[in-house]
Structures are given as C-alpha cells and as structure tokens.
Symmetry: none
Subunit: 234 residues, 2 copies
C-alpha cells in the first residue's frame, strides 16, 4: 500500500503520536533501540526518521540522554506594559519562575547609568528562569535600586512576583521605557538552563522599566529561547 520509504512511515507514525499528545511536549521518545524493535527495522532506519523529525523542529536530541518533543512556539508580547505573567497567561499557559540569585550587591557602571544612580549604590540583583507550564522559555537578570526599595528582597521572596513586590513597595504601576533586542548564540550555561542545544540562537533583550514619573526602577537583561519564543511588537 505505502509507496513511502520505511523511515518516512516511521516518521509519520511518530508525528501522529506527538500531535495527539500520546507523547506530550517535553517527553522523551522511546530509545532508538526500542523503536527499531517496535517497528522491526534497523536502528539506522529509525535514526533517519528521527533525524527528519529533528530537522522539522518537531523534536530535539541530546546525546547520551534521548530524543525529546519540542515545545510549540511561544508568543511573547512586547509593549510598554510588558508583564511576564500576563503574557504567558494570555497564551493560555501557566507562568512560573525559578530563582537562581536574589541578593544585594554594588551596582556596575552600566547599571548605574541605566538606573540613573551613582556607582557606589547598592542594588538588588534578581536572576532566574522563566517557565511557561513546565518549559523554560527564558533567563532573566534584573537589578533594582536598593535605596529606593529597601524591602524589595523580602517582598519578592514572599510573593514570587516582581509586579506584586513592587506594589508592596509603593510602585502601583510601571512602564517599559525601552527595549533593545539582538540575536546571540547560547553558551553552555544558558543552553543547559533552557534545555536547548549549545549554540542555538537566543533573543537578548535589554530593557528599562520606569515608574509613571519616568524614573527608572528596573534594568533587566533577558535571554529568550530562540527556537520557541517570538517577541511581538504591535
């Protein structure tokens, strides 16, 4: 019946199982050995099917570990009211964050310039991973002027949300003042956190948020997973 090559049939079968969520997003496919057993073919025939799926972006592979189902592309809106949580919710997904660093330190020159403070000042450094559902979509690293928000660290710890924490510190609203976007290659740490391949492209954004008076309150650098995140500016 099927004039298609063996490997193509296998690729189609696996695609169906992925589309129907029998193999959910992020899940590991059976090993090449298991698949060759199941389909009764040589391992290389399975590999050709898997290679095709990877080239189509349906899956990605990690040597020594396995082949995994890629996440669907995520849209991330970029505007003057950019909020991480709301963005993810709008996409029908559940946002969460994992904190990697939350501590005060002296600010750098670049940070001082962006926040319009002096170089001697202390800042709160907040760094971590952003998730949509269970998929890491980006790394963030923000600094806030400590003298303006002495209690911000505790507030972030308590509420696990920058927006809520800032409101507890008297900032009822803030705006995105500027965003600079460029494309870079991921390094080992980033690719590990984002579960992508070393050398996959990243969207790097540098942004400044201000209060409604135009005073800068946050300077942030974020790296979004290039393969699955799209920034939307409307």
């Amino acid at each position: 019946m099927s004039k298609l090559p063996l490997w193509k049939n296998i690729a189609n079968a696996l695609t169906e199982e992925i589309k129907s969520a029998q193999i959910p997003i992020g899940a590991k496919l059976p090993t090449e050995a298991e698949l060759s057993q199941r389909f009764g073919v040589n391992r290389h025939t399975v590999r050709q099917a898997l290679s095709f799926l990877c080239s189509e972006g349906v899956t990605w592979s990690k040597r020594g570990s396995g082949v995994f189902v890629s996440d669907k592309p995520t849209n991330y809106k970029l505007g003057d009211r950019t909020r991480f949580s709301q963005n993810i919710k709008d996409a029908g997904r559940t946002p969460s964050r994992k904190t990697l660093i939350l501590q005060s330190r002296l600010c750098t020159e670049k940070e001082a310039a962006a926040l319009n403070i002096n170089t001697g000042n202390r800042v709160l450094h907040y760094e971590g991973i952003s998730f949509a559902d269970l998929t890491p979509i980006g790394l963030f690293s923000s600094v806030f002027c400590l003298s303006k928000f002495p209690n911000l660290e505790d507030a972030i710890k308590e509420h696990n949300s920058v927006t809520i924490a800032l409101s507890k510190c008297g900032v009822t609203d803030y705006k995105r003042h500027s965003t600079a976007v460029k494309a870079v290659l991921s390094d080992a740490v980033q690719s590990n956190h984002l579960r992508i391949k070393l050398g996959d492209p990243l969207l790097r954004t540098e942004s400044v948020n201000t209060d409604l008076n135009g005073n800068p309150i946050e300077f942030g650098i974020a790296h979004f997973s290039g393969p699955i995140v799209t920034l939307n500016y409307t």
Copy 2:
C-alpha cells in the same frame, strides 16, 4: 585540530567552493563516489554532508542524475522593511539597497492571509540586501498586492525606494501594524549575503504595514545580522 565531525568538514569545504563559485549555481557536484574518493571517506559520510547541504537549501538532489547547486537565491525566509533607512541615517551612516528580486508572481497562502487578499491574486515580490555604508546589515523580502498598485514595480525601479514608490501610487503614508521577532541561525545563503559565518544568529522579523485606514499593503520578512544589529523599541 578540528574537533568537527568528518561530514561537517566536508560540508564546510563544499559550502566554500559553492560560495566562491568554484561550483557555480546550477552546476552539478561531483558524484558521491568521486567525493568519497577525494576526501578519503566512506560514501555514507559524504551523503551525510550532502544531506545537510540539501536541508540547508544550498543544494538539491535528483535521483539518478546528481546533486546540484540551488539556483533559488533565497527560497524562503528573507525579508525586510523600510523606515530602516531613517534609522541608519540617524546613526550617522548611509543606507543603500541592492535588489535581488523584483517581479510579480502568485501569492502564497500566508501572504494572502497577511495582505487580506485571495490566494489567486498576484503580488509584487521585492527582495534584496540592506546596507549601512558598505556593510550588509539585513536581507528583506516584501510582497505588495499588485491589483492595488499596478505600477509599483516601475516606481520602485525608478526611485529605488519603497516609500517614494508607494507615494507615487497614492499611498502618502503608512505605518507598521505588527512586528514579530525571533532568533534563528543563518543558513549558507544568508551568511554569504551578510558576510557572516554560517550558523551566526539572525534576528528574523515578520511585519505587516498598513495604510492609515488599516488596510494591509505590505507583508515583509527581514533577517538582520545578529552580531551587529540591535532593534530598538522605545
């Protein structure tokens, strides 16, 4: 020396010969047998390199005949947008463009949806390279609805400017309706045009421009050189 796999080195070598036109567009590559002899590897190792080139769109193969250098300069994904000229000037540099394609053709489904026209319609396809001074900074590919602007092709040829050409067609002003940005890796054609390394990151933007009534007039895809271009939203 090279920690790269054999097949990757072969792919790079062939890419070089294609880029330098030692193997010109449309020409047939040596046979798999000849290449395996030349590189001293198994035929399958050569095949892996050729398979990669084909997946990158650099070549295409015909069973029983041979492997040929693709003649389609940029089969998919290339693009642009305008108002970029002003940005370049603001940065104290001189903008210019080189046209690669300027011709009418049937629109694709995606283009029809973006321009809010039917799939049978003809569009003007304008594709080329944007320069700042003498440095290529991006590739653009735009389509315009031909039935709305029947004289646009000649106007672009005459004035070498989309903005001026559109004004000759009655569009005195237009604005960007939406822009979606993501990071991708450059392929052989793109890296060649932009004079960057194969695999360097690119900023890919998809945008729609509308007239002041909100009717879409242009759909464009652009690829900006990741290492040197930053998009700024303020």
